[in-house]
């Protein structure tokens, strides 16, 4: 459903992505793990065109685009079917919780306000934020903000949702409530790509895990197999280092 081929990306001559191939099937939850600086976040940002790749191809929604020469219109078309959840939430601070969710439906997709309202309540109920619709983001805790951000991302029913370290900016206390919402989405069959340091989530919720380091995919496979029986030495080292932290 979403496939990227041979993505290269450098920041001022230092390569961050060095030929990544990456595929997500409908209904899959793919966890992307790896040490800091391995290029996980850059991969998501290239897929969503928040960064321009130096080379690469994307197949999404049955269309193939050259990632370097794609037009603004095609970028918008891709984004219309893509949700993105940021590490730092990025809720619109000038809008209430309700308007944050409504915005993508009403302004971007010209949905009828009443229909959009129904959808907004539906997704806010799903993330457990129905009692805060009139609040501004500044009045919410980090966990609550991230749940609203998830509601905003899922409201237009995108074909895939990209999560960029959604719990990294949260107190350990608050990560649970966000992970619970993500588990719920996974159970409902939402297609998700999750860049994460939460090994528990990757192991228990993801259908597939991709381990990246130094801008390349070192190993990928079914979550259970990769965690219990990693093929690559480097994957083993990383997983054992991570498990000491848990």
């Amino acid at each position: 459903m979403l496939e990227v081929k041979n993505i290269h990306k450098s920041f001022s001559k230092s390569p961050v992505l060095r030929g990544i191939d990456f595929k997500v099937e409908k209904g899959e939850v793919v966890a992307v793990i790896g040490p800091s600086g391995s290029g996980k976040t850059t991969l998501l940002r290239c897929i969503s065109f928040l960064e321009k790749a130096d080379e690469g191809e994307i197949v999404f929604d049955e269309y193939t685009h050259d990632m370097v020469h794609i037009s603004k219109r095609d970028i918008k078309k891709v984004r219309m079917n893509m949700g993105f959840v940021f590490q730092s939430f990025n809720l619109f601070s000038n809008m209430t919780v309700y308007d944050n969710v409504m915005e993508g439906l009403v302004t971007a997709r010209k949905m009828d306000r009443c229909e959009a309202r129904k959808k907004t309540f539906e997704v806010l109920e799903k993330v457990g934020m129905l009692d805060k619709t009139k609040n501004y983001p500044g009045e919410l805790s980090g966990g609550q903000q991230q749940r609203v951000a998830i509601a905003r991302a899922i409201a237009p029913d995108p074909k895939v949702i990209l999560f960029d370290e959604p719990t990294s900016a949260l107190d350990p206390e608050l990560t649970g409530e966000v992970l619970d919402v993500m588990k719920k989405l996974a159970k409902e069959g939402t297609t998700m790509v999750v860049v994460t340091h939460e090994m528990g989530f990757a192991r228990d919720v993801a259908s597939r895990v991709v381990f990246m380091e130094n801008g390349v995919v070192v190993e990928e496979g079914k979550a259970k197999e990769l965690f219990e029986n990693p093929k690559e030495e480097r994957t083993r080292q990383f997983l054992s280092a991570m498990s000491k932290h848990e």
């Binding site: 219309m80 949700g83 990025n90 009443c114 309540f121 009139k134 501004y136």
Partner: protein, 241 residues
């Protein structure tokens, strides 16, 4: 203080205040309005990086910030007639003050827009907004409270600078004081009185600024109304929080 001086100060107070209200204030407000429009446009073409217009904006700001206001005033009022454009004193003053302050407000708006975290624009893009929509719905509404204190600073500054219009025959607050001072030979008392009236005006503006700034915080209120309440989509009002 002699009785005569007290008498002059009392009778002149209204004769300075009235032109202040009738001329200085409209001159200030109209010029400021023009400067807001010019400033916003100059800032937008710069942050949107529009080729040609961006360079024009930099050029405009370079010229209007780099030359004295009174020279600009003289060029517009005394200079333009020689190339066939003749303006009355008041509109010439509005134009000069508005164009001059526009250059400064452009920088105020530009820095306010740049102060909005990059993530806001990225989030706007990812929910499907295009650049103009993201600007109008997300970035500008957030930049305004950031720009506000500096804009108001410039407004107060402009209020006092309008006294320069006296030099191109606009009969405003300062001109009136000048005329009475010339007639009564009491420049010290009358210019102090003029200063006092400017001070009253700018104090009022300062109060207004404090009052507006309190309103510029994004906070949910008790009696916020629910815009889409009459949609009848099966949710009752209590659920809106």
């Amino acid at each position: 203080m002699s009785d005569r001086l007290v008498d002059i100060l009392v009778t002149s107070f209204m004769r300075i205040l009235i032109p202040g209200i009738k001329v200085t204030i409209p001159l200030t407000l109209l010029s400021f309005l023009l400067s807001l429009v010019i400033g916003l446009l100059l800032a937008l073409v710069q942050v949107a990086n529009i080729k040609g217009l961006k360079e024009f904006a930099r050029f405009y700001i370079w010229i209007f910030r780099g030359t004295p206001l009174i020279v600009q005033l003289f060029i517009i009022f005394f200079g333009l007639p020689s190339i066939g454009i003749t303006l009355d004193a008041f509109p010439a003053a509005v134009l000069a003050f508005g164009m001059n302050l526009g250059a400064y407000n452009a920088e105020v708006f530009r820095s306010a827009i740049m102060a909005i975290p990059k993530g806001q624009l990225e989030a706007a893009y990812m929910i499907g907004l295009n650049y103009p929509q993201a600007m109008a719905r997300v970035i500008l509404p957030q930049s305004f409270p950031v720009a506000f204190p500096n804009l108001f600073n410039n407004l107060i500054s402009l209020l006092k600078d309008t006294s320069l219009a006296a030099s191109i025959t606009v009969i405003e607050l300062f001109t009136s004081a000048q005329q009475i001072a010339a007639r009564t030979y009491e420049p010290f008392a009358l210019y102090c009185e003029a200063a006092l009236i400017y001070l009253i005006f700018s104090t009022a503006l300062t109060w207004l600024q404090n009052w507006i700034e309190k309103k510029l915080v994004w906070k949910s209120g008790e009696n916020d109304k629910d815009k889409d309440a009459d949609c009848g989509c099966g949710r009752n009002k209590a659920m809106v929080g």
